[in-house]
Symmetry: C2
Subunit: 432 residues, 2 copies
């Protein structure tokens, strides 16, 4: 079967065999299939979709394109946690030390920011000296030293995903559900933790704007994980507005520290606790006992101490005084009195990128000091002139007036308070 | 609007504006749009289709990607004739001198063979010295000298089509109706004859296997031609078996000469006459008068004389003795007695390519002597051992036993004669 025939079958809505999917992925990795052929097949998959069997085959083939770390073999019970990406989402920074403080080892593959979102890797880079693990030996070494590891996707992990993602980015095939599932799960399987907590975001600040789309993604992710023998729990959580009130690398680390010290922002703390409960329940704790254990770890300093151990094991300096501070801060006033009806997370995320907190294109340098300090969220009341956000400016020269206008437009103010939205919309999978 | 957004709109089944289609075609020609992006859009068009307006815009943009010869301006009334490709189809070689002999100038863009079909350009190359026109000046010069021109598609004609065709070939996007229409009509409009006779083939030896598919193509071609102000007539003709009994460059030139001398094969003569009638009716002749005029031109030597003038005007030697002859001929016997129920034109075409009469890949040299001499056609009766075809061997070393088996398998023999099929299934367009 020639590669053109494989493309033609998917073009006509047919199903590809596991062997044909391996041919596709091997061709992407080795360069033996031309980029234009890969692009044509990606578009055919994007329009025609993929069956559950095809998706599973794609995930396995992409995982097999690089190294498999098999962390579960060396650290039985190790938990991986992944978010589909949002704004003000520093959950990973809290989750790892919190779960570790309750006795569960953690391994996370941290990514760079994408589009309007900031990545965990960029936030960790705000910590002086912090070096994520880049291969299996480094991951095991960090796990042995402190019980947790933040790893960075390197060329040895699922290289087919890097190749295909770069193609998807320029061919309008990013939104394909099976391709998203394959991109996420190929890296999870390559790391090889035996347990997985997934945080699928939905709403204006997420990549999945509707609950239906988020649910479809959650179910597809859970299906692949189940087939691969990974115990998995998926929460679908609200990202209609930024989760935390801080956008920007250094300030999100500070937000995480505030939660780890027993205080912090209510929404960030609540979502992290829900995800951490799933991790502990997977490890055999009762649900109620898990929540109580996590709350004490936050209250009695164990979670905060675990953070310092993790940072030191990664070569970083845990002293929060060494985190970057903005050069200056510009308050953006409310143009009228009213209730905050909505906060457009994507708009604020893109504005934060403009300020320097993310990348507009590959190769851009993230400024850890830059970001946005969100002062009001949905349901709160503001008076005319009250501060909506502070623009936190770093090294980059910014058109402050334009940034102010963009910030104001991200807020919808109304005369009545909006209805509330649940933080966790659904739970999928069986952690027990 | 970024190119990714253009791809995304077509991916979702939307319609592109003429300006967006020009962006696409300009990007293909100039190289400013990446091949993987072109491939993704081609696949999206292949699956989602294109509206009549999009197809017309695509044709115009592709025509505009190179030179426009505007032959109608210099030779009012000049007729172009195009076939969608078949096997044993040397109609063009008869059509040009026959129509010219009746006073109508002819301009044809001849192509190389594709897949199982042989191209007019390859057949003309069997004539010693024959040089098709490669630019507007050469086309005008040949028209002035003899009233007809065979041109070869060169880099100056619709370069976007060359680029896109090369991509379609490897991305399984060749069968897309709007892309086929754009490929054919962009070259027709670039040549710029004011009148066009189209021969859309259907059946096992054609690219369109069903009459429905052929009709859809014929209507789409006629729609684009009408919109461009080209007077057009389309015949849908039978290609379920080879049209002529000779496959191969030199032998097809001889077949054409036999018709031009007033004899020749009945099916080849009949289809050519039907198409020539359309050309003469477009030029103002009555349909009956047109047919009588054409038949006399065949009978009284005027068509044959016109052929010699055309060949000489193109630098060729019209002496048929100088056409190549096969090195040897191998008879393939009927494996049983019976009626010929069908002859698989595609299978014989591919076998002829194997013998050297066509190209298996770009860069292959066509052997003018190689080919197949088909001895029996549908409806005829054979006895065990009667010759089905003669394999005409040229320079290439051939596995004769394998070729014999392939030839036998192209014939279906049955106990009863098959029902006849009309040579012309439909006529579309208004030549009058």
């Amino acid at each position: 079967v020639s590669f053109v025939e494989i493309i033609a079958r998917k073009r006509d809505g047919g199903e590809l065999s596991a062997e044909e999917i391996r041919t596709f992925v091997r061709g992407a990795t080795s360069g033996t299939v031309a980029d234009e052929q890969l692009a044509a097949l990606l578009m055919a998959i994007c329009i025609r979709g993929a069956s559950a069997a095809e998706t599973r085959a794609l995930v396995e083939a992409m995982s097999d394109s690089g190294a498999r770390w098999r962390l579960e073999e060396s650290f039985p019970g190790v938990v991986d946690k992944h978010s589909t990406g949002g704004v003000g989402d520093s959950v990973s920074l809290v989750f790892a030390p919190l779960v570790l403080a309750c006795g569960v080892p953690v391994a996370m593959m941290a990514g760079a920011g994408l589009g309007h979102t900031q990545g965990t890797l960029d936030k960790l880079a705000a910590i002086p000296g912090f070096a994520p693990a880049r291969n299996r030996a480094e991951a095991l070494e960090r796990l042995q030293r402190c019980g947790a590891v933040f790893a960075a996707q390197s060329a040895e992990i699922a290289p087919a995903d890097r190749k295909l993602y770069a193609l998807r980015d320029v061919t309008a095939t990013v939104p394909s559900l099976p391709l998203i599932v394959a991109s996420i799960m190929s890296k999870k399987l390559a790391v090889g933790a035996g347990r997985l907590v997934l945080d699928v975001k939905w709403g204006s600040g997420a990549f999945r704007k509707t609950l239906d789309d988020a649910t479809a993604l959650a179910e597809a992710l859970a299906d692949v994980a189940r087939a691969a023998g990974v115990r998995t729990s998926v929460l679908i959580t609200d990202m209609d507005e930024p989760l935390g009130r801080q956008l920007g690398s250094a300030s999100e680390v500070r937000s995480a520290l505030a939660v780890l010290e027993g205080g912090g922002e209510a929404r960030l703390r609540a979502v992290t606790l829900e995800l951490a409960v799933e991790a502990l329940v997977m490890s055999g704790r009762a649900r109620d006992g898990a929540r109580r254990g996590l709350e004490s770890a936050l209250a009695d300093g164990r979670a905060r101490a675990a953070w310092d151990r993790i940072v030191r094991a990664h070569g970083g300096d845990p002293n929060p005084e060494r985190l970057a501070r903005p050069r200056r801060s510009v308050a953006v006033p409310a143009p009228r009195a009213g209730y905050v009806a909505s906060v457009d997370g994507e708009a604020l995320g893109l504005l934060a990128v403009t300020l320097g907190a993310g990348r507009r294109q590959q190769g851009d340098v993230v400024d850890p000091a830059a970001g946005i300090d969100v002062r009001v969220t949905s349901g709160e009341h503001v008076n005319l002139g009250d501060t909506l956000v502070n623009l936190e400016l770093g090294e980059r020269e910014i058109d402050v007036r334009l940034a102010t206008v963009r910030a104001v437009r991200a807020f919808r103010l109304a005369d009545v308070a909006p209805p509330g939205r649940p933080l966790v919309a659904a739970r999928i999978g069986d952690p027990g």
